[in-house]
């Protein structure tokens, strides 16, 4: 059975989800194209996992509508489950089964054709040929994550939903992982991936930033940065801690962040920020420089904005 052809892998409008009287996801509207890697960012508890679970049929939205791979997210969850690969945030394969047994079980659940071969290929691709009979529970975090990804790709899904797949994984493994994701996207698979890492966000084709159940920004990394209208300065030199304290007290300064020997200062009002910089640049050993704001600056700004503007 093939999914109906449609340009968007995910196309949902106004999805809402409550847990009791907690409004966890508010009016989620999201489009993800085939072949696109879509980054899903936001602080812990912002509703990312709930959103992903609604997209793969694990949770029923309270209202709203839309499709995943052309299947209705409310009525056709069975079809969605068959075509989507979902990787849970927490390792959710069976720790008392071996690597091979886990893959074999998952392959059976999805009715993978030529199962033995598919499992063998997956193990070879993982480079785990010699450890195939090791219990999954004995694997390190990085290996568990790779095994999970292999498991959710066994049935060759057209859409991957990955919930913080690289949390707690070392940089080399993360890079390998992302190379693999890009390879898949190149084959036309859509990937929705939630993450806290800014470098990963920058590797996505497009991004969405969620806070308290609401999407605050969507677009490419550059678009998200541009839409925030932030102005930023960097300063190098000694005594940055004292400078940071002074800057925080100035009007127009929204963020002061120290990165080793560099201080980043950001604000939305260019004139006010400039004035703050002028007033603080008495020490000649400190060198000021106008910079482009980063994604992280933008996200923190979005979050502070939303938190301030929130009716209490």
């Amino acid at each position: 059975m093939n999914a109906p052809e449609s340009a968007a892998a995910i196309d949902v409008h106004g999805l809402n989800k409550h847990f009791g009287d907690k409004h966890v996801v508010r009016d989620l509207t999201l489009q993800v194209r085939r072949g696109e890697i879509y980054g899903f960012l936001g602080p812990n508890g912002s509703g990312k996992t709930t959103s992903i679970r609604m997209l793969c049929g694990l949770l029923t939205p309270d209202n709203g509508s839309g499709t995943c791979l052309g299947f209705d997210v409310i009525r056709e969850t069975y079809e969605i489950k068959r075509e989507v690969g979902y990787m849970t945030q927490r390792f959710s394969l069976w720790e008392d089964l071996t690597i091979r047994e886990n893959l074999d079980f998952v392959a059976r659940m999805y009715g993978v054709a030529a199962r033995a071969r598919a499992v063998r290929d997956a193990i070879d691709a993982l480079g785990l040929g010699d450890r195939r009979d090791q219990l999954a529970g004995q694997l390190s975090g990085g290996w568990k994550q790779r095994l999970s990804l292999a498991a959710c790709m066994l049935h060759r899904p057209q859409l991957l939903l990955l919930d913080e797949p690289t949390a707690g994984v070392d940089p080399k493994a993360r890079r390998d992982f992302w190379d693999q994701i890009h390879g898949l996207a190149g084959q036309g698979i859509a990937v929705l991936v939630s993450t806290h890492y800014m470098d990963e966000a920058e590797r996505c084709h497009r991004l969405a930033y969620m806070f308290e159940g609401r999407l605050l920004a969507t677009g490419t990394a550059a678009e998200v940065v541009a839409s925030a209208c932030l102005v930023a300065w960097a300063v190098n030199g000694p005594d940055l801690a004292a400078l940071a304290a002074a800057l925080r007290a100035r009007p127009g300064v929204l963020q002061v962040t120290q990165f080793g020997g560099t201080l980043h200062v950001a604000g939305r009002d260019a004139a006010l920020l400039e004035a703050a910089v002028q007033a603080s640049s008495a020490d000649p050993r400190q060198r000021w420089q106008r910079i482009e704001p980063g994604l992280e600056d933008v996200f923190i700004d979005l979050m502070q904005n939303a938190a301030n503007g929130r009716p209490s």
Binding site: L58, L59, Y78, R82, T88, W94, E95, G111
Partner: protein, 379 residues
């Protein structure tokens, strides 16, 4: 809706997974094999179905040499311990009613006279049959001594009496529980209680364990259908259950020499049904429970009435009607009757049907509830 039906391959996948996990869980597996053997030996030897030295009252309305030697013979059987010699019937009744004695043996006033005349005098043995297993061996012992005990004393007096005639006509009154439950209560009871406990508990934990370990989210995100998951988790335990009953039956045969009057295949068919009913209950518990602890609590909530109201521990007919009604809802109640029927009476299926369908109905109801509450989503 193409491909939305039940998939055999998927079902087998779940089956294989459960078997592997069962194999790896050494403790559980050990319990499954160890519990039946241990409990049967424990119950079989600790619970004495042939108790001796039972307190007995003798109301002797005709003191004399024959009564003396008859009472001596009673005591010599080892079953009776004469603790009281009430003078009146009312006094004797009181002793029995209070449970001070298990038996009242009444020797009538004309005992010696009728014995001398060659008539078999009536001897009344009243038994407190609320604990029927305690009574039956003692009663048969009385009947035996009635044949032999007095023959020596009578040898001179009644020389011409033909030997096979019983010298005394023993009348047994089973008081309080006229039905008198069979003496081989223990084996069907152990079969039933062990199956109830292990089957409900093991499967009760099966689904909640997935939930607690977080693997349930993975299982749910696959296209596996609830009925596939439920039955796929049940079948391995059916085999475990059959292994358990086989162990118990072998032990029953070799350790306790329990007879097997009926058809073994019929017995296995009944046990299979009973196992399936308990497994279905376990799976349903685990779809209702949020965690393993809750599932365990539900199991014990069900287990206790099963033991107390099924007729395993106390005679079923001795319970008030409402308790019998409650007991009739429990599969164990019917299972006990069925197993006794097959093993001891050699009953065949047509006679047993009346106790078969309640177990089947219980199973269907429980599966329906389980499917109703099986969470297809994480909502």
């Amino acid at each position: 809706m193409n491909g939305n039906g039940v998939s055999l391959s998927r079902w087998i996948g779940i089956l294989v997974k459960e078997f592997i996990q069962l194999k790896r869980d050494r403790l559980t597996f050990g319990m499954i094999v160890g519990i039946p053997v241990l409990q049967l030996i424990l119950f079989g030897y600790a619970i004495n179905t042939d108790p001796r030295n039972l307190p007995t009252a003798v109301r002797d309305a005709d003191p004399g040499i024959f009564t003396r030697s008859f009472v001596a013979a009673l005591e010599n059987t080892g079953y009776f311990r004469i603790v009281s010699r009430p003078a009146t019937e009312a006094e004797a009744d009181g002793l029995l009613a209070r449970g001070d004695v298990q038996f009242v043996v009444t020797i009538p006033a004309d005992f010696t006279r009728r014995l001398m005349r060659g008539e078999a005098p009536e001897l009344l043995v009243e038994a407190d049959a609320t604990d029927p297993t305690a009574v039956s061996n003692a009663v048969s012992a009385v009947q035996k001594i009635a044949l032999t005990a007095l023959s020596r004393d009578l040898a001179g007096v009644r020389a011409r009496t033909p030997t096979p005639t019983p010298t005394v006509d023993v009348r047994v009154h089973r008081r309080y529980n006229p039905e008198g439950v069979t003496a081989y209560n223990i084996v069907p009871g152990v079969l039933g209680t062990i199956l109830t406990m292990t089957m409900v508990l093991m499967t009760g934990l099966a689904m909640t364990r997935e939930r607690e370990r977080g693997t349930f989210e993975n299982l749910l995100s696959t296209p596996a259908l609830p009925i596939e998951v439920m039955t796929g988790k049940i079948v391995p335990y059916i085999m475990i259950g059959l292994l358990q009953v086989t162990l118990i039956l072998l032990a029953a045969r070799w350790l306790f020499h329990v007879p097997m009057e009926g058809n073994l295949a019929v017995l296995y068919a009944i046990m299979l049904l009973f196992i399936a009913a308990n497994l279905a209950l376990g799976i349903t518990f685990s779809s209702l429970a949020r965690n393993q602890l809750q599932s365990m609590q539900m199991t014990f909530f069900f287990f206790l009435p099963s033991i107390l109201l099924s007729g395993f521990m106390f005679p079923f007919r001795g319970m008030p009607e409402w308790a019998q009604t409650l007991g009739n809802l429990l599969p164990l109640t019917h299972f006990l009757v069925l197993v006794r029927g097959v093993m001891l009476k050699g009953s065949a299926l047509p006679e047993l049907w009346v106790h078969v369908w309640p177990i089947a109905a219980f199973m269907v109801a429980v599966i329906a509830i389980g499917l109703r509450f099986y969470r297809r989503t994480l909502d």
